[in-house]
Amino acid sequence: MHKLLADSPGKKMLLLGNEAIARGAIEAGVAFATTYPGTPSSEISLNLFRVSHESDLYFEYSTNEKVALEVAAAAANSGLRTFCMMKHVGLNVAADPLMTLAYVGVKGGLVILTADDPSMFSSQNEQDNRYYGKLSGLAILEPSSVEEARQMTAEAFDLSEKLGEPVILRTTTRVNHSSAFVELGKITPRKIKGDFKKDPFNFVTVPAVSRRLHVRLLENWDKAQAMAETSTFNFTDGNGTWGIICNGVSYNYVSDAVKDLGIADKTRILRLGFSHPMPPNLIKAFLNACEKVLVAEEGEPVMEEAVKAFAQEAGLTLPIAGKGERLFSRLYEFDPAMVRRVMAGYFGVPHAPSQPPDLSDVPEIPQRPPNLCAGCSHRATYYAVKKAAEGRETIYPTDIGCYTLGFLPPLAMGDFLICMGSSVSTACGFSKATDKKVIAFIGDSTFFHSGLTGLVNAVYNNHNFTLVILDNGTTAMTGHQPNPGVDMSNLNLSGYGRISIEAVVRAIGVEHVTVIKPYKVNKSIEAVKAALDHKGVSVIISQEMCTLYARSLKKLNVRAFTVTDKCKNHRDCINQIGCPAFFLEGERVQINPNTCVGCAVCAQICPENAITPVKAKKAG
């Protein structure tokens, strides 16, 4: 049995933040779950996917976040408790349904999880999705710890049903990816079959209906604000007059700092876990009890601006500081030592921060950016395209996935990226706006997510570029989730459709479509050359299973290669493809037999044919 299905209230279990969130949803009796995977949220859905194989929970990997939220909106309006998960930028994709679903509301509890990523550990921006609460008028809950993530997720469903509105559960990476021992709660039985009652004058958002629904949304907003005033997720620690207002992980840093600085008798902490709508009376009463206040929040000054406005309403003139005063930065995640230093400075507490060590004598440590794995098929594809495009002036729009890493040297294949699916549509723009050869890269999952519409646009508007679809048979970067092109029998799952990328591309009307096997280097280069010569939209589909995924499915037949003494040390292999299985021993290139998977790409590149398979040991 999946550990998150354990019906043992009171038991303590070591859980990742994302597992605790999944558990919270299970305890609330979630019946329906949809997602598009994205770090730092992915482990929530991965666990619910597995749970769905052992229970009557309905779970789906939807094509993208907009689809996920619309599927969820229907389930919730059929009375089911529904959970929709995504990373922060995913909510941009789902923003269209979000804004109007707030007007329509829900019948069964709908919790929308957005996992923000301050410092951008795995993201293209660090937008603060608390603004979506303001924008949509929906309530936001924000946990500070793994334990609270479980409890808050479970209660978010109740809150959603009380308000008749979706509730946004907003986390940050450090909550999603922390682990702690969590006390389990009781599992509420799930109701798996819903019913939809026709009520078009409340569900069909034509202007006349929406004008009324907007009034109701604002009434619900008032209701939510009243609930925030008394929510147990909004609490104070301490009775002093130095006020600190915080949320999420900043509460942990503030609490540790109060202890480290020995100022617990002087401070009063207001932790806002039900952070939108902000509770005005609670905050005004807090301000009244303080002589000065510091607002400690990662990201944008969302709470700070509201608190300053409340102070003005209440005629309070005490100092309130945070980002407006540049005490805290709007950039990146907080470091606990930085929070402590700012608190000490603001409240005038003597504090001798530890000096950063003197590193002047230490040699510079080479950077270690992430890179494509040993034997990754994307490396082979990039090499083939680079060779095929030699002599042409190129622009390489790229997209979001492991393959984005191809923009790093020595491959350096990637010139422009803004969001999921942007490779295809920006290729349309670059090919019209410039005379350069435009070659765009997109992965299989990203193609289904939001590349399709761009390709339709390209054919319709008769653009001129080559799109390379890197089909590695899985959604690799976020942890090998399936997508509409995946053979689900690999996962021993039946009852799924499977969409052929090639058939879709041809059906859209792309005239030049070629499928390549990227480990066949010369054939691939020739196929790409032909595609580049085609005037109009051409598509290369490069098919080879992700090596990590193949290994996990026991489909990887490893036969390591080695550098023989025929090597003349010109280093084409290491300098052109930079596979991590290579290392330098003195001046010589060697291949690490523990990491080489035997893709043989380097062996085909070596002009001396000096790279050969490691000879199998003779039996006996």
């Binding site: 070591l14 770090t39 730092p40 992915s42 482990e43 550990f121 795995s122 710890s145 793994v146 450090r174 990816h177 922390s178 682990s179 702690a180 021992f181 992980v249 509460y251 942990n252 840093y253 609490s255 540790d256 202890k259 470091d335 606990p336 030592a337 930085m338 530890s354 950063p356 060590p357 003197d358 590193l359 004598d361 230490v362 040699p363 510079e364 440590i365 080479p366 950077q367 270690r368 950016p369 992430p370 890179n371 494509l372 794995c373 492991c402 890493l405 790093l408 040297p409 020595p410 970067m477 976020t478 280093r571 290491i574 300098n575 930079g578 991590p580 290579f582 290392f583 330098l584 523990n594």
Partner: protein, 192 residues
């Protein structure tokens, strides 16, 4: 107990997650309050992987304030130096497995590989205890983390965790031949 902060580092694929979870569970078996935070996602593709563990009765944040780790555990030499230089307290301890996963600039011959002397020099100046671990006859490189764990216990680097707690934690996470091999290695190093 008093707060104790452990910073684990290495290269994606080296098994940081496993050794981190063993320590986390061992601390719990020993009755300590403990929490951790890890790197997931993009960085796991050959980048630096970090896990931070904090033990203590009144610790809120799993994130270690910069420069305040009591112990750095690295499974790789470059990352040992990087972490010792940035997160470790003066007079604290660094234990690392003495293997090298060359970063790209080293493979491209654009930067020099970090040496054992580089690490010794840095640590000597700051009074940091250095323990370098290496085992020539390791049956599988994926067991380097277990060799390090065994040395952590042998030198008593984490207060309040005993052999039985480490063993119980291993049994929580592994079974069958994998458990036998890993526990065998852990025990063997303690008796030689």
């Amino acid at each position: 107990m008093k707060a104790f902060s452990i910073y684990l580092t290495g290269v994606g694929g080296q098994g940081i997650g496993l050794i981190s979870e063993i320590i986390l569970r061992a601390a719990d078996h020993a009755g300590h309050r403990v929490k951790s935070v890890d790197t997931h996602g993009l960085a796991q593709r050959g980048g630096i992987v970090v896990s931070q563990i904090r033990m203590g009765d009144t610790v809120f944040s799993p994130l270690i304030p910069s420069g305040q780790a009591d112990l750095v555990i690295s499974l790789e030499r470059h990352e040992a130096l990087r972490a010792a230089g940035t997160v470790l307290k003066d007079r604290a301890c660094l234990i690392y497995y003495n293997t090298v996963w060359q970063p790209l600039p080293v493979r491209l011959n654009q930067a020099a590989e970090v040496t054992e002397n580089d690490i010794r020099d840095l640590c000597r100046g700051r009074g940091i205890q250095v323990i370098s671990v290496f085992q020539t006859d390791l049956p599988d490189i994926r067991m380097q983390n277990m060799a390090v764990l065994s040395e952590i216990h042998r030198h008593g680097l984490i207060p309040g965790i005993d052999r039985k707690h480490y063993q119980a934690a291993m049994a929580d996470l592994m079974s069958g031949a994998m458990l036998e091999e890993n526990r065998g290695l852990f025990d063997k190093r303690l008796t030689t």
